[in-house]
């Protein structure tokens, strides 16, 4: 049985695989689910059974789903999304057909040869006893509505259609954030394994649901808890049904007065390789000022939140000054930093994180002098730099834009040239994850 690869609801939505992709209830089968998301905190929900998070490996979050004890066939629905991004196109769903095993009690002609067809699957043949009684073991899928029983006696055959009891498949509530926070906007989405229409009825206690948007199998609501509510309960189902298809109870937290404590860095998903680029400026005092560019190659070859980085950069500076009795002279500096650095996260919150960097390396460059009185020359420069920096990153899947503030001591000298192309370096850039593995 092959793995089920679900199409993405949107580029930013998680990608889900399940193994096996079909379940027969009562056989002890459990389903392994892997989810590849953008790197943010992953949320998961199941409409039935028990969904257990197993951690992360090979860049994917692993789950184990244990079906419920019930034997009646149904479609299990799963939803996966990244924290803070509950939207119609940011939630990926997985529908898992769960079949039930049962025995059909059949009354027919004595000694008849009986076969049963349910949803295209055939069972039998078996022969009825002398009284025409027979029990036929069958598997019933969640979409089956009837059983076609064929009894053959001699040259004659009889076909009988028997309706099968239909058990409704449960719906699912996805709520963000969870628990709710009284001072933050909240969202709730009802998802179903079948098309939703105007028959859908939702009910909230201790809260108000404001419908926002919908697609065929999902409806997004704005969730507004009542003032002072400590929990909110949600129900969804068809209006004509007496039993709700989905119910959720969500805690409401009071507003946090104190600032959130700094949390330890979350461990990386595993070995990672990132490339990046940045643009900005440096201000090193005097005419040590100008644009700065950098490209980076970052690798975390160990299961630690620590990257080794190679950075190649360009920094430019120029100025002009009068030369007594002759005219004016201009100087143009181009320095190419070649540096190694270490970067590690010291704080994370959802997709946001703060990284610290430290490093240093060589500076190679050239300075050009030009004048309006016929003088021109160039000088090679060499030097070094040491720096410490803070990066504020926002991880959006494999793409992580950041802002960096760097303090650098840099010195570059050549024949007759002294420059300090460091100081305060401000950069805006991004990291892009090109590979991730454990």
């Amino acid at each position: 049985m092959g793995a089920l690869l679900l199409p993405l609801a949107a580029a930013a939505a998680p990608q889900v695989d399940a193994e096996p992709s079909r379940v027969v209830l009562g056989t002890g089968t459990r389903v392994r689910i892997s989810v590849r998301a953008g790197g943010g905190e992953l949320r998961a929900a199941a409409s039935a059974g028990t969904l257990e998070a197993l951690g992360t490996s090979d860049g994917a979050a692993r789950f184990l789903w244990t079906p419920p004890d019930a034997r009646a066939p149904f479609v299990a629905l799963f939803a996966f999304w990244e924290a803070g991004t509950l939207g119609l196109r940011t939630v990926t769903t997985l529908s898992l057909p769960c079949s039930g095993r049962t025995e059909l009690a059949i009354d027919t002609e004595p000694s008849a040869r009986v076969t049963v067809e349910i949803g295209g699957a055939h069972f039998g043949p078996r022969r009825a006893d002398a009284r025409g009684k027979l029990r036929m073991p069958v598997e019933v899928g969640p979409s089956a509505r009837e059983a076609r029983i064929t009894a053959e006696v001699g040259e004659q055959s009889k076909v009988r259609i028997v309706p099968l009891p239909v058990v409704p498949s449960p719906f699912l509530w996805a709520v963000e954030p969870s628990p709710l926070r009284a001072d933050e906007e909240a969202w709730a989405m009802v998802l179903a394994p079948e098309p939703l229409d105007q028959r859908l009825a939702v009910r909230a206690s201790s809260a108000r649901l404001e419908r926002q948007s919908a697609e065929s199998d999902r409806v997004l609501y704005r969730l507004v808890p009542d003032p002072g509510a400590k929990s909110v309960s949600l129900e969804a189902g068809w209006a004509a049904e007496t039993t709700a298809r989905a119910a959720a109870l969500v805690e409401v937290q009071l507003p946090v007065e104190a600032p959130a404590p700094v949390t330890a860095p979350s461990p990386p998903a595993g070995r990672r390789l990132e490339v990046g680029a940045a643009v900005g400026a440096f201000i090193g005092g005097g005419d040590n000022i100008g644009p700065a560019f950098a490209v980076t190659l970052s690798g975390a070859p160990w299961p630690l939140a620590l990257y080794l980085e190679l950075e190649l950069g360009v920094r430019l500076a120029s100025f002009s000054t009068p030369v007594s009795g002759l005219g004016s002279a201009s100087s143009f500096l181009a320095v190419f930093p070649l540096e190694l650095a270490v970067r590690g996260s010291v704080w994370t919150a959802g997709r946001w994180s703060v990284d610290l960097r430290a490093g240093g390396g060589l500076l190679l460059g050239t300075n050009w002098i030009s004048t309006d009185f016929g003088q021109g020359s160039s000088q090679a420069l060499t030097g070094w730099e040491m720096f410490g920096a803070v990066q504020l990153l926002c991880r959006l899947g494999t793409f992580a834009p950041y802002l960096e503030v760097r303090g650098a001591y840099a010195t570059a000298t050549g024949t007759g040239v002294t420059a300090n192309p460091g100081g305060l370096v401000l950069l805006a850039g991004f990291h892009w994850t090109v590979s991730s593995a454990r």
């Binding site: 005419d287 050239t366 090679a380 024949t415 040239v417």
Partner: protein, 216 residues
């Protein structure tokens, strides 16, 4: 001007010590001078001036000192002129013959163009006279009128050497150029006592003033 070179070459040159390239004299115009006629000369020097660039100090300092001479006579202002083109007028105090043209930079580099300038015979007056000079005070400038005499006097436009008897000095030592045989020169003498002003050209023609009294 060296222009912009590839970075790799610059880095290598930086590792090799980064000394400046030698200066050269690329042209001398004209290359011949008539001994009795002051001549305007242009000397083209190709040189990369020593520079000090300090980005923190926001300064570019160029060592512009450059002395150019034709034989014993200096040309120009003593510093690098725009585009390295040194201009000046040579006085008629060079003896007949050929001379090296030399440029000396402030950092000691030196460019020589051997036998680049030639002085050929000219026409000189047969003598000089000085209009009577009133009594003067030492160190106080005064004017003296110098006149060429004899043949070629009216067309003379050269320079002469000025002197006085021992125990005193006269400045300048070389007069400005005569104009139609006459030169009004502002002089400063130091010393005391009775003096005469002597006028001599390099061809050996001379003259002198009547005695005058130089008081402290």
């Amino acid at each position: 001007m060296t222009g912009r070179r590839p970075l790799c070459l610059l880095v290598l040159s930086g590792c090799s010590g980064g000394s400046l390239p030698p200066a050269t004299i690329t042209s001398v115009t004209p290359m011949v001078m008539i001994a009795s006629q002051p001549t305007r000369v242009e000397v083209q020097v190709a040189v990369e001036l020593p520079a000090e660039v300090d980005y923190a100090g926001e300064s570019i300092e160029l060592q512009t000192g450059m002395r150019v001479s034709v034989g014993p006579q200096e040309l120009g202002s003593g510093s690098y002129p725009p585009d390295g083109l040194v201009r000046g007028t040579l006085a008629t105090i060079l003896a007949l013959g050929t001379y090296d043209v030399v440029a000396v930079l402030a950092d000691g580099r030196r460019a020589v163009r051997h036998d680049a300038f030639t002085v050929v015979p000219g026409s000189w007056p047969s003598g000089y006279s000085v209009d009577p000079i009133a009594n003067q005070r030492s160190g106080v400038p005064f004017s003296a009128t110098l006149r060429a005499t004899g043949s070629n006097a009216l067309g003379f436009g050269g320079n002469v050497l000025l002197g006085t008897s021992s125990g005193a000095t006269v400045a300048p030592a070389v007069s400005g150029a005569f104009d139609a045989g006459v030169r009004v020169e502002t002089l400063t003498l130091t010393g005391t006592g009775q003096r005469v002003l002597t006028v001599t050209d390099i061809a050996g023609n001379s003259g002198q003033s009547a005695p005058f009294q130089l008081s402290p």
